[in-house]
């Protein structure tokens, strides 16, 4: 009998609708207004790569040890260096990072012994061309400059 009444009055559907109405409460709104408000990503987020420089004199921290290039599963890092004739130390000349093939696994930043190469919280990596996805040393040190739109 109870079952029949439930059936006639569509109790199961109304129960479900009640859940839906309960969730109309504004405190349940979780949508992020992305282009207007940039979401805050985690501190350890693995996004755009960056080559850190010494904040005092702007010199690169990279010691050209090539460990990141060896650690990379996709082989997408090329470290260009030449040996300084006077100090006998390696000096970084160029650094190429192909973000089009990168899967942001973070093995390169784990391998870096001097905290130079780092994956940052920048996540806007879109490009108009494939060549633009290959970043050189200047780009890596300055960071990407995604377009900012005014609404």
């Amino acid at each position: 009998m109870k079952k029949l009444l439930r059936k006639i009055f569509l109790a199961d559907l109304l129960e479900g609708l009640w859940v839906t109405f309960r969730n109309q409460d504004p405190k349940y709104i979780v949508t992020e207004q992305y282009p207007f408000a940039r979401p805050k990503v985690g501190e350890r987020y693995r996004g755009a790569p960056r080559l850190n420089t010494n904040p005092e004199n702007g010199e690169t921290l990279c010691i050209s040890c090539d460990l990141c290039a060896l650690a990379c599963p996709e082989n997408l890092i090329v470290v260009g260096w030449e040996r300084n004739a006077q100090t006998k130390r390696k000096e970084l000349v160029n650094f190429t990072y192909d973000t089009s093939r990168c899967m942001f696994c973070g093995l390169c930043e784990d391998a870096c012994p001097v905290d130079c190469l780092e994956l940052t919280q920048d996540f806007e990596l879109a490009n108009y061309s494939r060549d633009g996805a290959i970043w050189d040393r200047q780009m890596l040190e300055e960071g990407p400059k995604p377009a900012r739109y005014k609404f």
Partner: protein, 229 residues
């Protein structure tokens, strides 16, 4: 590495260019470079690993222990010298079966010893060996809660008997082994390629198949491009 020669190679945006042969040498320099690179800045945080590679012990590893128990005894009694090499490497029992007895052993394992679940069928290619393929069956018994591995060594072109009539699940697993290695299973009801396109030539997981290699004719006909690389 001089940068001028390496640069243009890297700038090709697509594919996994240059990841083939060069990669095999890469780990050795890493071992040498690690302590040297860490030297200038010893306070660098390193939670990952011990600071230097462990010293290599020169002694050869001991042979894996024999697999002992009632199952090896029973199988030896039933099949004699068709079954051999009962070992338990890292506590995982495995044994080798002669190719002509494989089907009977599987039947016996399923019907008498209670291995009612075929976990996996796969193959391993050993091109330098005379018997170039290991066909591997992983079996599990719900009753005994035991997992065993059965190996069948076959020559290239030999056809091991299909076990689809014993375990239905072998159907796709054997198709995949055929697709990837070219091991044909005699008596399989529907031996077609499963992951690769039907008209593809070559067997990708064989060791002589390069990582950048592909069926160019198929690619040109079906995708309308010169090459996928």
């Amino acid at each position: 590495m001089s940068l001028d020669s390496a640069m243009p190679e890297e700038q090709k945006p697509e594919g996994v260019q240059g990841s083939g042969p060069a990669r095999s040498e890469s780990p050795q320099p890493a071992a040498d470079a690690a302590p040297a690179a860490a030297a200038p800045k010893p306070e660098a945080p390193k939670p990952a690993a011990p600071p230097k590679p462990a010293p290599k012990p020169p002694a050869p590893p001991p042979p894996p222990p024999d697999w002992e128990g009632d199952l090896p005894t029973a199988l030896k009694a039933e099949f004699g010298d068709k079954v051999s090499e009962f070992i338990a490497y890292q506590g995982q029992p495995s044994f080798v079966v002669a190719q002509d007895a494989a089907h009977q052993v599987v039947t016996s394992l399923r019907d008498i010893h209670g291995f009612d679940y075929l976990v996996d069928v796969t193959a391993v290619h050993w091109p330098k060996r005379d018997e170039a393929f290991d066909v591997i069956y992983v079996l599990y018994s719900f009753v005994r809660n035991e997992r065993i591995r059965m190996k069948v060594r076959i020559k290239d072109g030999q056809k091991p008997a299909s076990v689809v009539d014993r375990y239905v699940t072998a159907n796709w697993l054997e198709r995949e082994a055929y697709d990837m290695f070219g091991v044909e299973f005699a008596g399989h009801p529907d031996l077609r390629r499963i992951l690769m396109p039907d008209e593809w030539t070559g067997y990708p997981l064989r060791k002589d198949y390069g990582i950048l290699e592909m069926d160019n004719r198929w690619v040109q006909e079906n995708l309308g491009i010169e090459s996928g690389q």
